[in-house]
Amino acid sequence: MTLLKEFFLPRFVQWLVVIFIGVTVTFLIPRLSPVNPIDQAMTRLTSFQNRDPQATVALRESLQDLYGLNGNIFEQYINFWKRVLRGDLGPSFSSFPAKVSDLIGNSIAWTVGLLATSTILAWVLGIIFGSLAGYFPNRWWARLMESSVITVYPVPYYILSFVLLMAFTYYLPIFPLVGGGQGLPRLTLDYIGSVLFHSFLPAVSIIIGGVAFRFIVSKALTTSERSSDYVQYAEMAAIPKRKILISYIIRNTMLPQVTDLGLSLGTIFEGALITEVVFGYPGLGNTLYNAVNSSDYNLIMGITLLSIVGIATASLLVDLSYPLFDPRVRYR
């Protein structure tokens, strides 16, 4: 019972606080702005096309309902919460009758598939290379890895992805230019193969950047761990270096690494904006980009809320999993 009270409860309360603040901020932003988003959206929507008047009225009402501009601010706030809890985020502005939740639902699987795989791969590879280079800093391969990482790391991501795209679709046309897969989405080998083929370049671009960052972090952690007394003791006791590295050092550096992994898995839900735009990948980032281009606040708001919930939940899970990785946390 004390475990529940002292361990789970505070973390769960923190999770609720994050979501509460996030939803409140998202609620307040359109209200604090000097611009009336409804008028703006209406002008934009009706300036270039003829709609039938009834649809316009319906749109206006739904906009008003969406921004909860019926009733005073307190009632609006309650209504906003009700809608968020029901998962009903209203219609999208740019593709009107379609629901925001449907649009998000269509693209989320693509993004999660691409980002979850490449984030985890980059994390594992980065830790392996980084801790090897941190533990044996004077070997030639460690120096080679470090200098190549230091050259790659500061290159902005949009340059890296663009260079990859030009190199492998234009100069050496190996990979397709845009898209997520070919043919009908079915569970056939052909279709799965084409999905993997299409997502190869975006994944590689994410993995390169991710490995470089993880390499730097885990090399720094390993370097400071290497100077600890217990490592020197273990070395004097002639424990094999491989064992020292794997079961002592890497295990001790795991805590911050797991935190980072959890948090970066949480950021998946905001999508990889630049990756998906550059490679024309049909995920959340691309949806967000299109929403920005067509000023679809509703959709942007939906993605914002989704990413707040995603990252709050990820950090809750990370917090709860600490004792599994580090016994020292259990006794706090």
């Binding site: 606080v17 603040i21 988003p37 950021t267 914002t304």
Partner: protein, 288 residues
Amino acid sequence: MLLTIRDLFRFSPAFRYGAIILALVFVLVGLSFFSPYEPDVNRAVPRNKPPSDVYVFGTNSNGQDVFWMLTFAVRNSLLVASLAVVIGRGIGVLLGMISGYLGGRVDRVLSSIVDSFIVMPRLPLLILIASILRGQMTMASLGVLLGLLDWAYPSKRYRAQILSLRERGFTDTAVFAGMGTLKIVVQEHLPFLIPFLLADMVSGFLFAIGFEITLSVLGLSDLSTQSIGTMIYWGNYYQALLSNRIWILAAPIGASIVIVVGFYLVSLGLSRYLDPRTRLLRLQVKTT
């Protein structure tokens, strides 16, 4: 502080090269005050000319000289970033100090708010705010916005620092000697925070410059003012890539890489200096 910077310059190659690169960037900023053209004048020079002796970085599709435009762009981008850094660090230091010194319930409430803001996803929030304010955004308000989104993590760090400083012996000595709290904070504790503040400012600059570019490329910032991001936006808008006018895009992208690398090297040097354990290790390596 000056002594620290001098020593870093002498002994840390990363810091030295970073500082030289940043100095060059500031020279570029200084040149903007001697520009022969106003930043907003179109058709001051022939359009779409590749780089040559007269137009060092070429000219763009609006008839502006890319080199002189770049000086204005770098100046504005750095101004936005410094505004964001000042606001963000200001809030961070203040909150960190309050919750570190007061402790107790205030600390618990403030810490839980700070923890919530740390995990808050900033990019979607920023895009939401900017798209609602579209057309109304100025460079100054962009800087304020970036600052308001970037204070949580620094504040947590300062709180931890204050907590450890408060427990040190010299704090007790100062209290017993009858020094007021404000005097202890300003004279005794603030100097310890300065190196952290420096490292933090660098990461704040990287954050603000990156986000300014992202928002501008999406067309969500003040598009009538020159900045690194808006230069890229207008380059894309006039199809610089498709029509093979690479130089229009190369100048702002190159500038952003140079600035990022400069700040990154400086932060590398600073963080090595800040971590006492690796400093010891390096000394060992040197002696053996």
